[in-house]
């Protein structure tokens, strides 16, 4: 021991592992979520006078309670939030499976919503209701698809970087909406809700159509990716373009086709927001959910059904923490912080699932 050593022995080193069974992995994930929720409670304890339990109680009320004025249960609002976020995440998933990093759900949805808005304003009084609805659906999907196609064509032909390209397309979309709102809103910069071309209400519930549409889409995307020839091509292109070439898949065609679908599904989300929810549009209509959706798609491991749970979790935290912020007079950024903490923990726990940390304690005894 007296001899000079070049180095001390490391306290621990990190080793890759692949021995975790799926239920163990999920146990780690669930434990992480529980821990991160406690972290969040601790944070609110530090910022407010409320105890942990009270905080959770407020959160619960924020999601499952009743709005004081009406009879609408908050639950519907919760499901609506899930539907929109899930719709965007579903839209991104085919592109992501192809390893085409579409960061433009925000813009694609906004343009889709924009198409709905134009139809509602310009054609709302001339077309009959069913025709109008069909026109709205088709145009918003086409508009979203177009917004997705532009970067896809450039990627296919010139191999441009799709991440930057789709991000930039978001800003263009936002500016177009800003200008449109300025034109139509007169001085107020607000477009008053339009009565024509709203999606139908079922049993007096204004969110139910949105929820049903997204439920159908979830099944559609799942089946499309897993059981269709298109879905198979997407996986092959995503895993290895060389293999795709070798087998004779037209890679350019697949990129363009898939982005058209991804964009069109974003367009649907835009339609659900404009024709189905707000009946108006502004630059903040999608409100950054296009970016949250990227995370949802990843955390859901590109599986639509896992994505349902992830959106459920994120929306619960967002609504609940929003309510806490309201009740305790905290800044509205509180909700973002909470969602951030939880997602960071969830992403971090993937490290523990893939690697294990080895300590060197036992070694000295082995030597003897």
């Amino acid at each position: 021991m007296a001899k000079v050593k070049h180095h001390r022995e490391p306290l621990f080193h990190i080793v890759k592992r692949d021995d975790m069974v799926w239920w163990q992995a999920w146990l780690v994930r669930i434990a992480t979520i529980v821990i991160s929720v406690f972290l969040m409670g601790l944070l609110s304890k530090m910022l407010t006078e409320k105890s942990l339990l009270e905080t959770f109680e407020i959160m619960y009320r924020g999601v499952f309670g009743r709005i004081e004025t009406g009879s609408t249960v908050m639950l519907w609002k919760y499901l609506q939030e899930i539907a929109i976020l899930l719709c965007l995440a579903l839209a991104l998933t085919p592109a992501f499976k192809m390893k085409f990093w579409n960061c433009g759900a925000e813009g694609q949805a906004l343009i889709g919503g924009f198409a709905s808005m134009i139809c509602m304003i310009e054609l709302g009084k001339t077309l009959s209701y069913p025709v109008l609805l069909a026109v709205i659906a088709v145009t918003s999907m086409l508009a979203g698809a177009l917004w997705g196609l532009i970067p896809a064509v450039f990627k296919a032909l010139f191999n441009t970087n799709e991440t930057l390209f789709t991000l930039m397309m978001n800003y263009i979309a936002t500016q177009i909406i800003a200008y449109y709102v300025y034109l139509k809103g007169g001085g107020s910069n607000i477009i008053q809700p339009v009565a024509e071309g709203n999606l139908p209400t079922i049993g007096g519930n204004r969110y139910l159509v949105n929820i049903l549409v997204v439920a159908l889409l979830t099944v559609f995307v799942y089946v499309y990716l897993k059981y269709s020839k298109h879905g198979y091509e997407i996986s092959v292109v995503g895993e290895s373009q060389n293999t795709a070439r070798y087998i004779g898949i037209n890679v350019k065609k697949v990129i363009i086709r898939t982005m058209a679908i991804s964009g069109a599904l974003c367009g649907v989300a835009g339609m659900l927001l404009v024709a189905g929810t707000d009946h108006s549009i502004n630059t903040n209509t999608v409100g950054g959910q296009g970016f949250t959706a990227i995370m949802v798609s990843w955390l859901g491991q590109f599986n639509p059904f896992i994505m349902v749970f992830m959106t459920g979790l994120i929306c619960f935290l967002r609504l609940g923490a929003g309510k806490v912020a309201d009740t305790c007079m905290l800044n509205s950024a509180f909700a973002d912080i909470v969602v951030g903490i939880v997602i960071l923990c969830v992403v971090g726990c993937e490290f523990l699932i893939r690697y294990s940390i080895k300590f060197r304690h036992g070694k000295k005894e082995v030597k003897a």
Binding site: D19, E239, I247
Partner: protein, 515 residues
């Protein structure tokens, strides 16, 4: 004669995940003034073991002693402080730098002076007999020159324990002999040389002692002088292995594929194939030999419809009606639709032939998913095929739904070759089909190729091991810098003759430069 131990390994264990034990309780000693071969099949843990000495990995258990003292090696830098240097299989050089710049790169002694360094480099070169131009840029160097730079880089840092990972894999027989002479010089200078290899004849001709690993476990060390090929093979594989490749005479051989004046230019504008012409015959294995990167890949890809040609003709002679079909500028799908049964086992198995993250069934689907009008996939037939291949070729896998990247190299290759043969091809192209495979899997593949040959398939076999090419093929075509430098009869040729042909075009170039 008492030799001083340079490096000792005691009870070294390294795991990757819970299931993979790369090394288990390895005990090994290497002395100064000797060349020690580490022999083992692919996947036996040779490289992992050496990576622990050179600081790339850290052992989970056990100790390393350098010159009798326990050493903790956490990084390649630590390894250098123990005077240990490793020359990796894949070179780690900066292409746009000169040899000398690469050699001094990363030395932090605050005395950057390229002129002095070049003097030192020249001195080292002369001492051991290296042939190097210190100011030459890496990108204009041959593989053998690059390897020289890597070795000098290590010597320049004062290493006297040198580890070479499969150094001859990319060399011609002549270059190999040159390298071996240099290594012998270094040994005589008192350095400790450890060479990782799986080629038996190299072990026997070069090393003083051989340490054998099998499935991560240390089997034993023997003196080279007291052993022979079959004993070493037995230690390596764990049982006796017949080392002869069966070769039948071609029967009813007719022309199947004619290639005429093939010329191909890569993205940088360099000519990778230059006026290549040959004929592949049915019921015959045509070998293609050459230094890695001489245009073999481009040639096969051109025939498979994956490479754009600037000139030349590819003609397929249909065995049913003798009709001539032009394959040039056709996509793989078009070739398939023409009824040409062309199968291709590419060099890059998991990056091109298969999809690593997909299971065996979905990898079978690659060749057949377009069948049928339905928009949905039909997984029944590929599932049956997967089960059949697993059974017939004895693929070791937990099931047909295991991602192929989890299989060992040999099993991956069985899946790929099995799929390509299942299409009952008339032309079968295989590139480096046994690279990275253990001996038993290699022989399985040779037998499969021979079976196909006897069925009348025209086989084009791109290989690197000249011993195998000479034993397996009927004719061998040698390619050098994109040109055919000769076609020889495999039954009468020698390795030396092929080695000379491999470098022939280079020599031609030198002559013109001199004249």
């Amino acid at each position: 004669m008492e030799k001083k131990p340079a490096i000792e390994l005691k009870n070294i264990t390294k795991r990757f995940g819970a299931r993979v034990i790369a090394n288990k309780n390895v005990n090994l000693t290497a002395y100064r003034g000797e060349i020690l071969s580490i022999l083992g099949e692919n996947g036996s843990g040779k490289t992992t073991l050496m990576n622990m000495i050179s600081g790339i990995y850290f052992p989970d258990e056990g100790q390393i002693f350098v010159d009798g003292e326990e050493a903790v090696i956490l990084s390649p830098k630590d390894a250098f402080s123990y005077r240990i240097g490793m020359i990796h299989q894949h070179f780690k050089l900066v292409d746009v730098f000169s040899a000398a710049e690469n050699i001094v790169l990363g030395i932090e002694d605050g005395k950057y002076n390229l002129k002095n360094s070049i003097k030192d480099i020249t001195a080292i070169s002369e001492q051991y007999g290296f042939d190097i131009q210190p100011e030459k840029k890496i990108y204009s160097m041959s593989v053998s020159e690059k390897q020289t730079v890597e070795i000098i880089k290590v010597l320049y840092r004062g290493a006297d324990i040198l580890i070479l990972d499969e150094p001859t894999a990319v060399l011609t027989p002549q270059e190999t002999e040159k390298l071996f002479n240099i290594l012998r010089n270094m040994r005589d200078d008192g350095k400790c040389i450890i060479i990782i290899t799986h080629k038996l004849h190299e072990v026997l001709s070069l090393s003083d002692r051989v340490a054998v690993l099998r499935k991560g476990e240390y089997v034993g060390t023997v003196n080279t002088a007291e052993t022979n090929e079959s004993e070493l093979t037995e230690m390596m594989v764990g049982k006796k292995v017949e080392l002869n490749i069966h070769r039948s005479e071609p029967k009813n051989s007719v022309d199947r594929l004619q290639v005429n004046g093939l010329t191909c230019v890569d993205r940088q504008g360099a000519t990778v194939l230059d006026d290549v012409s040959f004929t592949a015959k049915s019921g015959e294995i045509l070998g293609i030999a050459g230094i890695a990167g001489s245009g073999q890949r481009e040639l096969l890809e051109a025939i498979a419809g994956l490479q754009h040609l600037s000139n030349g003709e590819i003609t397929y002679i249909n065995p049913n009606d003798g009709k001539l079909e032009n394959l040039r500028d056709k996509t793989p799908v078009q070739i398939r639709d023409m009824g040409v049964r062309l199968s291709f086992v590419p060099e890059d198995r998991l990056g091109m032939g298969l999809v690593g993250n997909m299971d065996i069934v979905d990898n079978m689907l690659l060749r057949s998913y377009t069948k049928g009008k339905s928009i949905f996939l039909q997984r029944k037939a590929p599932k049956d095929l997967a089960m059949k291949i697993i059974k017939d070729l004895e693929v070791v896998t937990p099931g047909a739904n295991t991602p192929v990247r989890r299989l060992s190299g040999g099993n991956v290759q069985k899946v790929l070759v099995g799929r390509e043969i299942a299409a009952s091809p008339t032309v079968l192209m295989v590139a480096y089909p046994v690279r990275g495979l253990d001996i038993n899997s290699s022989y399985t593949i040779y037998n499969l190729l021979n079976e196909q040959k006897e069925k009348g398939v025209a086989i084009i076999f791109v290989g690197e091991d000249l011993d195998v090419l000479v034993e397996l093929c009927d004719r061998i075509m040698v390619i050098g810098s994109g040109r055919i430098t000769g076609v020889v009869d495999a039954r009468t040729t020698t390795k030396e003759e092929i080695g000379l042909l491999m470098t022939k075009s280079k020599e031609d170039g030198k002559e013109t430069a001199n004249g």
